[in-house]
């Protein structure tokens, strides 16, 4: 397998995360060629140059089309605001590049569908940054479910919360607009939870839902006295029916004081239960109806080498992976998929379903009706 050249667009939260992941994936896993960090793009140009130096990229540009056109770039990483995902991804695919896109794919479901259609016809592989899927604890949960450790799945509950929009006095930003941000908490947080639900239980068939905007308006700036409306939801909840008949409940809030990275779920089975919370991302809780009742209880499984690929990071159990490590696993999956000429997971195909669900939630809430995914 030849080394692949990376072009990274964006240098914020996720941009840095991508840079770190592509920079260390070879050292961590060993079974992929070290990616070449070729071009970094941001605006203005000097910001791009500064981050190229910091992140170890060979060149920089303030023109993302130039980055895509660069013949040394094989993989285009898109970590820009959601609004521009679509144009960049379509251009990269059209140029025959592999696309590593941060979630959500696009502001609207229609755009996401367009992107998937083009991906289906393209030579380039795609992967979307549903990084929580790559947690060894989640992989272990999936394995346990697959082997019947908790019997037949009968119920799913999930919550995903943060508090970055909880403060009533926070000023108004583009995040509050349909035009620039699209959905609210559903797009930022909800889709992550859906990705986990789908991975653990299966695709969603239909749903009913409600949403709420906690803060109807926000001040434009300090002292101006002006307020602008918040156009998207702060809170959303839905009752899900999965294709396999399982009933689920999910809820998300970006205004939940005290929740910093709360992605919690329960999978109920006929023989046991699995629970998880991302704020303790190295722990999986498992209850099995096995052995004497007096010794039954929820067991806390602390991630370790027995939960691949944890051991590639640390050979000793319980030592803790971190948030950035999940992106390294995601990058590894993408590089292996390219190397083996198979679809990466989750590609635009799977991601489209996750995002169809959040748009269905918004629609079900707005129109007060049951929405079917197909």
């Amino acid at each position: 397998m030849k080394s692949l050249g990376i072009g990274l667009i964006g240098t914020g939260f996720m941009g840095k995360c991508h840079a770190l992941a592509y920079g260390s994936v070879k050292a961590v896993f060993g079974d992929v060629p070290a990616p070449r960090l070729e071009v970094l793009c941001d605006v203005p140009a000097d910001k791009a140059a500064g981050f190229a130096d910091q992140f170890g990229f060979a060149r920089s540009t303030s023109d993302w089309r130039e980055l895509i056109a660069d013949p040394k770039v094989d993989i285009v990483c898109i970590t820009t605001p959601n609004k521009v995902h679509k144009d960049m991804a379509l251009a990269a695919l059209a140029a025959g590049k592999h696309v590593h896109l941060e979630k959500p794919m696009a502001l609207t479901l229609e755009d996401a569908r367009t992107m998937r259609s083009l991906a289906d016809k393209s030579l380039g592989k795609t992967i979307v940054g549903y990084n929580y899927l790559h947690n060894p604890a989640i992989a272990h949960a999936r394995g346990l479910i697959a082997e019947g450790a908790i019997g037949r799945i009968v119920h799913f509950r999930g919550m995903v919360d943060e508090d970055y929009q909880a403060d009533p006095d926070l000023t108004w930003t583009w995040r509050a607009t349909r035009a620039d941000a699209g959905l609210g908490t559903l797009g930022d947080l909800g889709c992550h939870l859906v990705s986990l639900a789908a991975a653990l239980v299966g695709p969603v068939e239909s749903l009913v839902a409600e949403t709420r905007t906690v803060h109807a308006t926000r001040p434009v700036g300090e002292g101006s006295g002006e307020h602008r409306p918040v156009e998207n939801e702060d809170i959303a909840s839905a009752l899900l029916t999965f294709e396999n008949g399982v009933h689920g409940v999910i809820s998300t809030s970006r205004s939940a004081w005290g929740r910093k990275s709360y992605i919690a779920f329960e999978v109920h089975g006929t023989e046991g239960m699995i629970t998880f919370d991302q704020e303790r991302m190295n722990e999986l809780r498992l209850y099995q109806n096995r052995g004497p009742m007096a010794e039954q209880g929820f067991k806390t499984l602390l991630s370790g080498p027995e939960h691949p690929p944890y051991g590639h990071f640390v050979p000793a159990p319980g030592h803790q992976l971190g948030f950035n490590d999940l992106k390294v696993i995601e990058v590894h999956e993408f590089l292996r998929a390219i190397c083996e000429d198979r679809p990466a997971v989750p590609s635009f195909r799977e991601a489209l379903h996750f995002e169809a669900v959040i748009h269905a939630i918004a629609e079900a809430a707005a129109e007060e009706k049951r929405v079917f995914l197909k």
Copy 2:
């Protein structure tokens, strides 16, 4: 205040709990006359006699109408299977007695309404066994909310689970029938959660819901090969709109492996959050957006004398109340209400709302529509 005579119908889980509570309420609180344990009723007669001896009742009978007619009985405690609640409560009220009824009030909402109507016209006071409401931690949560400690309430989430119907091999019982048990997990568990939601957030206005029966049939007896249908729900979930506009999500299961007495909720406010789990009933978790962000976090408040009426049980904090102690507080509330000639809380009036909600959930699920509580 004169001492009140107690007639207890039923000697099971809740019957014993009532006996213990009436037996110790005077010693615990001191401000009520010691109730006189007059008559205990169960069938057959010798069982009643045996339990009267154990629980310290003066007499026993196998005829509940005789108990109600007994002039020395002032309070009739009804802890029998749900199916007979209505007849007993109506008879007791008609006889001018105070009624301490276990939840749910009745199998159907219509019956519950009839009971409330009679109660409204009766001299006797009523209270329904929503014992979790009496937890000092819950009382403290209500106080915190009332004083604005977490700002304006914007969201509620709650779950209530047990696993007594989780085992697929469990044999069929009357619990599985509409005729004898009425609702399933909603009647057993769900109504407790609703009582807490209403106490913390307010009355419910409308809802949509889904229910599931996990095990469609159950074996009638070992080796018979016969199976009978399970007619009521194992799992139920609902999206609630409270009268004050707050959006809520609740879910309940009686088939949730590992959950033994799980009644968990989150109250989201504009300035903080409160969470609770009955399996750790002496802990309340509080997050407040106060002080430097570096020192913000969920605080675990361990129940103590600062959380009345904890101190009546133990003068030292953190020493732990138990399940049976909640009933003592409930009994105290009932005796004080009688003594002060005021309605007890929750009387048939409040309980009717809790139960209207669970029936609305069943209806919304069955008919796939939004149900309004009024």
Copy 3:
């Protein structure tokens, strides 16, 4: 078995706890005659009369010798300040009564030895209020250890803390004196931990130790400006060698902010570990080196009917026992022992060892040497 008459001396924290326990033990367990609450003693006389009424005692007195002499009193419960334990217990034993004594037995080890000697020669049974021993979770831990669930025991660690002496501004009381209180945190809290260590691991052979007085003096009263010395320890720690060779570490503080009833321990075995914390007294944590490593983890066992005698209180698991319930179990043990004419556990015999250990800790710390228990 005939009904036994109870004489209770003291009406504080533990006095009330005894009254509640003797009042409900028959209803809870059924297999013992209901104790007769005969005489309650406190000073002054009207206080005794008031509490006799509240607690349901037939008579009251301000003279404890009169209570002991009462022919209707079979069991003398001593819940007075430690200083007077000895005289009361010796008098009660001399009068042929059974003695239910709160811990610690006495201010000095010499006194405790005298008390045990007399008890050995007396007809009356004895029990000392090491109530935490009676927790079903602890009983289950002992059972697990006995059946080899965690292999051979190799290490013990324990801590017991509260914060009732943490505040630097707290005023000086008799608790600070050797003459009236004897030991400090060792007598109040440390001996409870020793009782658990001995029950789980076995008797202690020798130890080295250190103690500290956090607040050397305390103000006598507000505004007086006067301070008096604190004569006993706020903190104590010891390295233990048990008779079976196991190495242990224990530590206690009465000045540990945030600890309300913290009695935490770990028992390390060659095949697993058990941990516990009294602030979550219905949970036992168990790790066993069994099954695939990927599914090993600490399991939280929530107390239930499978952990006797939990089921006598509540037939459903996870519903939570409370602090006062432990005293009911202790009283039941005492009544059964009297009924079966066998020693109760822990009698003065076992309690003497617990208290010998705390005095050895004080001695080892004061003299900076290893102290042997025999």
Copy 4:
């Protein structure tokens, strides 16, 4: 500041950790030149070559002296078995290199002293791999203590456990020998805890201690029947007196089933308490005697950007750092110290104290006496 060349000796657990950290420190922090990964050393040569490729080193060698002599190597990272630390470190210092040494410094205290002496006279900077010190949660704990958030420190308790030597059937290795491994759990784990204790409370003045070897012998190989003695301790505990008079208790075991990376401590102050457990390394628990007692409780602080340098890894709170991130912070400290020409922390100077304490524990246990650190 010029870029520094790295020579890494060792490719195991810590070798990989170093490679990842030097590889990403520039991208994470931005304020240091990217280190040049020059030479990697391991035996045999082809293993070294393979890891050089994986970890991104320019060259490889099987001769560590060659690595040290390489003029392009500025920093020598020593991650080899403890036995060879001394010779490598002395040689590197003698060659004028900076030394990044994994803990413990050496097998014996005498060797560690020799190393510190040479370091004092050398131009090269030193740092020892006490990585847990660099956790933002620990830094925050130190800050809280320094600003008096919990008042005057009065007590310290700590435990550090793993279970890699818990299995009785584990075969004998060099780890069991004094000659090759030196101390047992004290050298592997205990010194980490001491580093935290010293950072939080201050230097240790004297101590008494006990140690135990749980498994006296271990089988040499499967089926051979031969057993060899375990020469060093599995468990060790000590009562510490810090130079400032604070009393402490510490305990460590490498045979503690269920403990995977358990480094737990409590710091007791006159106004509050701080607790921590490395198995939940992103959480710090803080109790403060502030505000109304009814709202006092332990607060869980989840690491975030308010706890530097967390924000360099992830700009959002609660997203979790991992074990490998701590080494990045350590490397950053080392590079900044070199850049600013100041001692790094912890240098050989501070590390010598940590290691003097663990050797003192071994000595105090062996000779059954109090050992003073000076």
